[in-house]
Symmetry: C2
Subunit: 264 residues, 2 copies
């Protein structure tokens, strides 16, 4: 098992739909498990409960940032279908729900592309990109994830006023990406709004990921961009392409800007 | 009450969290209630159950297209917060769940815009735009909604190969838009993929709407665009601006292309 598979594993308990998970410290941001990492845990339970292999659309609403350590995943089948099954899953800790997600899942194949609006962005190759890990921005997640940013879009130490990031993503253990790892790839980057000098905690309120293909082996190319920051709220749209240039994931999140670690 | 308020009203029953709704024939597409219209009904119940006024993020997974007529909404509070409350709501008909949604809700104010990536698109004024209602595309929803499309983006009778629509939206009864009506505005248009000659039913599988502001009175300006169509799946990203140019909603849906009326 890869490090990612191990860290996102869910174990069925004696109670149908209830799974145990262990939230791992090496997939965290300043002690709090990463939101994309948690989404993969939720998706595993949501798929298991309807006997599907791959999520197609995952929508999660974040209520409390859980701590590293044991957590319970409560999943429930809502509908089973041939093309699409629907289920729900929630991460619980200390008898409180932390994140709840709705998941549509089912077969995901790399079919012929009938229409693609634009090719992937062109950024320098990984060896000419810049590690996202700097003296000013070091997080535990980067022990497992290598994120190499296009030099033009690196937000620290010099924010450029344009909240767009372009970067390469891969696992440090040499594992190639699978569909579940796309849930992490859309949320593993520093907040785009660092480019607007809005530093601090940027808690996700809602994150939806559409899974559009099975990634080929190799680096993932990712882009995250923000359209609107107003009243302390911003959204981030993320796209992920595999090493063949296939668009494999589209995501969007609504988040709060530059807050202390709790939302309320 | 406006026609929209009347048609999307939910009535609390004696059972906490259970509401009655009447799915109205004049908000349907070929006899099936419009997905954005249903989203507004879900959001009303989801807000009511946590005593909030406005949704902030609504994520719905569509399982079965309900019929016109009575429906039951089952809503449940998950967490109450000062800035954000979280709840879930589902439309049931004939003892089966049709759509389930997760809703983050709370105060929504028109704060100062700190960053906006681009101004709204410029399209001809409404009087120079084209009704979406043609001999080839007439739906019940247009009895209540006036949708005037930029001539360059009208898909019928001449699809142009680019799955983008730009249009004006307003209610025919003269009511100005409110936050709830944005849930309809993001999903009231013909499928973008008509431009790719993919006609037929395009059932939504997942639709997430982010509410970013309270719309000013007047026309809403909307844009819907598709990036990828592959294997019968496509996504649509929609944006809505109010008459002052404020970006008030951002949405994305995953849908199936050109199908007969059932998904399975």
């Amino acid at each position: 098992m890869s490090a990612f598979e191990t860290a996102t594993a869910v174990t069925a308990t004696a109670v149908p739909g209830v799974y145990d998970a262990e939230l791992h410290p090496d997939w965290a941001i300043h002690t709090k498990p990463n939101g994309g990492y948690l989404l993969a845990i939720l998706a595993r339970a949501a798929c298991d409960v309807v006997d599907t292999e791959t999520p197609l659309a995952v929508s999660a609403h974040y209520m409390r940032a859980p701590d590293v350590g044991p957590a319970e995943i409560r999943a429930e089948a809502i509908r089973r279908g041939r093309r699409v099954s629907t289920s729900r899953a929630a991460i619980w800790q200390n008898d409180k729900p932390c994140i709840e997600a709705l998941v549509s899942s089912g077969p995901l194949e790399n079919a012929e592309v009938d229409y693609l609006s634009a090719p992937p962005p062109v950024i320098p190759p990984p060896e000419e990109c810049v590690s996202s890990e700097t003296e000013k921005f070091t997080v535990e997640l980067f022990r497992n994830v290598e994120l190499l940013m296009s030099p033009e879009t690196v937000p620290l130490p010099t924010p450029n006023g344009t909240p767009t990031l372009q970067f390469w993503f891969r696992f440090r253990d040499g594992t190639d990406p699978d569909v579940m790892s796309l849930l992490l790839a859309v949320d593993a980057h520093p907040p785009t709004i660092f480019h607007l000098k809005k530093y601090g905690w940027a808690p996700t309120v809602e994150l939806t990921v559409l899974l559009r293909g099975r990634p080929a082996p190799g680096w993932l190319l990712c882009e995250a961009a923000t359209e609107l920051l107003s009243g302390g709220w911003f959204e981030e749209t993320a796209r992920v392409w595999d090493s063949t240039g296939r668009l494999v994931a589209q995501a969007r999140q609504l988040a709060l800007a530059g807050l202390p670690p709790t939302k309320d």
